[in-house]
Symmetry: C2
Subunit: 208 residues, 2 copies
DNA sequence: TTGTTATTGTGAAAAATAGAACAATATGAT
DNA sequence: ATCATATTGTTCTATTTTTCACAATAACAA
């Protein structure tokens, strides 16, 4: 069931909102509650669900627990996702120390760096020399990597890890990467995010 | 000239690609070169430009330097953009140490934190107590803030800074924020980015 | 029961976005 | 000069995404 990226991002948002509602003690939810929670429309919520064959109850709405099960299954959250980090610098080590991924079933299992000073095999998230990345990826069947190396090293690093079996890369370097057929990249380009924000703030200021 | 977010992001990409081309010695560029450089179509490049009244030369293409001037002006890059960071923890301090924003005309001028241990007025990017944020925002007319506080503190922090005059927030906390009319939020939700990547990697794996 | 109501699920309409096509035209060749 | 060519700018077309609208129906009330 291939769909557009925004739709899948909405599924993640619904899922997160549902956990919050569940924490508040709710057991069922209506499309318009979810729409409010994520800032969308009720029709879109229902349409998104219908695309994935998720159905609720006429009148009664949706049962939160079973809805969460379905969303989690669609989003691949029924198994722990092991992720590695390439580049244990500022961003890389912030990510490795971050506990927030775990509650999402995402575990950073290792970091890799070329700088010997960054190597530390006994960290909670161990950091290994880059040369070991290939073997690690293969033996642990890692498919997802976070790329946090300097811009200039990014393409080379992505070539290396994709050749070793990485299928999805979350790239922090502010440049486009070429990947072999079958691997995909999501870019986190903070420069562009800020630029974008600045643009819309300026527009809002002018048109007011 | 309000347009869709993707279009503005493309402008940023064109701009970045143009700098690279300029570094390589090019002085002019055709719509299809740019399309290749950012992974789009030539029509779209020309359409994007035409929306903003940017014109080139029949035959001759676009002059890179004047094109860059126009894009930079649209993107608000003709003046240094001062930004503050709220929360000098892992992410916040990685950002404050990052030199990459400067070449984009974006300067992080201060950080703010509630933890006294994080305060340091003599850092390259000084970190002040949160109580000083309001006055700082007002006297320095800061409009853009990066929010890197724990999830639980995020809404409160955004309320505070928006009341003080912040118009645009780049939010790292993985939850939706309410902002007053006139302020906007761009979310950097790494959990969702990873989840999304995992989804598409899974889909690719299944359909292969 | 029967009727009323709330809410889903979906097909059709609308809006937004992207792409193709091509006339207009500047450039360079002959 | 004239012609051929390359490339823009824009209109028209196609696709994608969102929203609307409403029949279907489950829940509840009387
Ligand atoms: N730090 C930020 O706030 C920030 C913000 C936006 C974008 N970025 C981008 O994120 C990336 C990382 O930034 P950073 O600030 O963490 O940089 P950093 O210099 O702190 O860390 C980079 C790390 O990568 C290691 N490294 C270098 N080449 C490598 C290779 N080939 N393989 C493995 N490791 C290698 C270095 O030894 C270093 O430890 C950069 O592309 C940067 O542009 C960072
Ligand atoms: N670190 C990561 O890799 C990462 C990844 C994804 C998302 N995030 C999100 O980014 C945010 C920050 O994460 P972090 O890892 O940097 O956290 P952190 O705990 O390292 O840092 C948070 C900082 O904010 C300060 N703070 C707390 N309340 C504050 C307030 N009201 N005003 C100002 N400062 C306040 C704390 O003193 C601390 O210094 C969180 O929402 C987290 O979920 C972080």
């Amino acid at each position: 069931m291939i769909t557009n990226k925004n739709c899948i991002i909405r599924l993640s948002r619904y899922k997160n909102a549902l956990y919050r509602l569940q924490d508040l003690g709710f057991v069922k939810v209506f499309s318009d509650n979810l729409a409010d929670a994520v800032g969308g429309t009720a029709s879109q919520v229902r349409k998104d669900f219908s695309i994935f064959g998720i159905s609720g109850n006429k009148k009664g709405g949706y049962q939160i627990d079973s809805l969460l099960e379905k969303l989690n299954s669609i989003l691949g959250k029924d198994q722990l996702q092991k992720v590695i980090v390439i580049g244990a610098g500022h961003i890389g080590s912030a990510l490795m120390r971050y506990r927030g991924f775990e509650k999402e079933g995402i575990k950073i299992v290792a970091g890799f760096d070329i700088d010997p000073a960054k190597i530390n095999r006994s960290n909670p998230v161990p950091v290994y020399p880059l040369e070991e990345a290939r073997a690690f990826i293969k033996t642990n069947q890692i498919r997802i990597a976070i790329l946090a190396v300097p811009d200039i090293a990014a393409q080379q690093a992505v070539d290396l890890i994709c050749a070793a079996g990485i299928k999805g890369v979350l790239n922090f370097a502010p440049l486009g990467l070429k990947t072999p057929e079958g691997s995909i990249v999501n870019n986190v380009n903070l420069e562009i995010e800020l630029e974008n924000l600045i643009y819309f703030v300026n527009v809002a200021e002018k048109t007011r």
